[in-house]
Symmetry: C2
Subunit: 255 residues, 2 copies
């Protein structure tokens, strides 16, 4: 006779994990040749614990240099010792720049990517020369921004519409480029400016493209009316620059 | 005939520079074999500009891993193009983790170390597991601190007295170990705790030793009365641990 708990302890279970990382020294989230990605490092440590290769599935990629306050991933593993001990075992061997914030047992059907109902990103800008302590976590701009024009452009960008003009140029394999930008807040505190974006999903490089466009509106290189035109015409123009990665933070995945 | 301004442009002048640095990847301030110190990197860039080796003199050393918001140093150099251009020329070639915040012409008699009337340091503690973005800038403690006991110990430590028991063990070549600790503030905001120290001068590892003692008071391993006893007896005991370097910031040099 095999008891119910013994069976349970031998069957792989699904785990949901929340991870924060400083993207500065990594080649992004997604596993790749060379192995210096967040996914690769976590999978390496997971293989040590489990004694076999286990794939983890993230809620989505982040690019090289982009940070996360709470990225989410799932995986299946046999682990009879409880969630917190699994978190600690997995954390051991990971660098200080990757921190597992929470580990929970998930239902068999949970999927970190497919179940995501939305995401929140934040982009940080510093107006001036940034100190060494924040230089890796913001876009340092030496010029003033026209706040009123930016607010107007943000109004144009909010809502459910086609963001083709604000997607990365090399990866347009989407079924649709329509996204619902439910929230776009611009906040300024002294020299620190931050943009918060919430949508049902984001296209590749969408947040950095929107940020680049907003900044160019702030610098007078693009008008809010032109931004509205871009949404309509689905044409990417040079005014839509891609903001540098180090100012971008994945803040939350909404399930 | 040589004009006064020509003479001036050919004579070395004294320059005072304020620098912020993230100490994480450096072997401290002070020049040493291997060359991976803040002083070495600045001198290397200065040699490139000046075409000759020029020594810089800091207000004092900081240890490996210790940060500075505003360290001060001086040097003598011929530079006819003005202070801001010198700052920019020197900044070029320095890593992002070292930032020259200000450059000014100083009088011939100015000395970054001997003229310092005092210094301010801050030590940052995080109660809990620190996120990757602050892990390199704080001491992460997993336990609660007895705030009342720490406040009491701080009261004992303030003032002009002999801090022998709170100096580094390998460098006791001081004429006197009496220092005037003019200010010691303990502040807590949520999980962030910070100690601010101001004195006419500090002994080697004094701030980190005081911090280590205060934390041990907070953990109940040392009593405020024992702290008072240490001042009197000038004996370092194991309760005076040295707090790790990454939580320490040189905040200001007072002239």
């Amino acid at each position: 006779m095999v008891s119910k708990s013994e069976v349970k302890s031998k069957c792989p279970q699904r785990w949901k994990c929340v991870v924060a990382y400083d993207g500065t020294t990594f080649q992004g989230w997604q596993s790749q040749e060379g192995g210096n990605t967040i996914q690769d490092l976590i999978e390496k440590q997971l293989a040590k614990i489990a004694g076999q290769k286990i794939r983890i599935e993230g809620s989505g990629r982040t690019d090289s240099g982009v940070h996360a306050l709470a990225q989410v991933f799932h995986f299946d593993a046999v682990w009879p010792h409880g969630a917190e001990k699994l978190r600690i075992a997995l954390q051991t061997g990971l660098p200080r720049s990757i921190r597992l914030k929470a580990m929970r047992r998930a239902t068999r059907k949970f999927h970190a990517r497919f179940d995501a109902k939305g995401k929140i990103y934040r982009y940080e800008i510093y107006l001036g020369e940034a100190d060494p302590f924040i230089a890796a976590y913001c876009w340092s701009l030496r010029r003033e921004l026209d706040w009123a024009a930016m607010k107007e452009a943000a109004k144009v960008l909010r809502g459910k519409q086609d963001f083709w003009a604000f997607s990365g140029e090399n990866d347009r394999t989407y079924e649709t480029t329509v996204r619902d930008l439910r929230r776009l807040d611009l906040v300024r505190r002294g020299r620190k400016v931050s943009f918060t974006f919430e949508a049902d999903g984001f296209l590749y490089k969408m947040v950095r493209s929107l940020t680049g466009a907003l900044v160019n509106v702030g610098l007078g290189k693009l008008t809010p009316a032109q931004v509205a035109e871009l949404i309509k015409t689905r044409r990417r123009i040079p005014g839509v620059v891609t903001a540098p990665p180090q100012g971008l933070f994945m803040v939350r995945v909404i399930y």
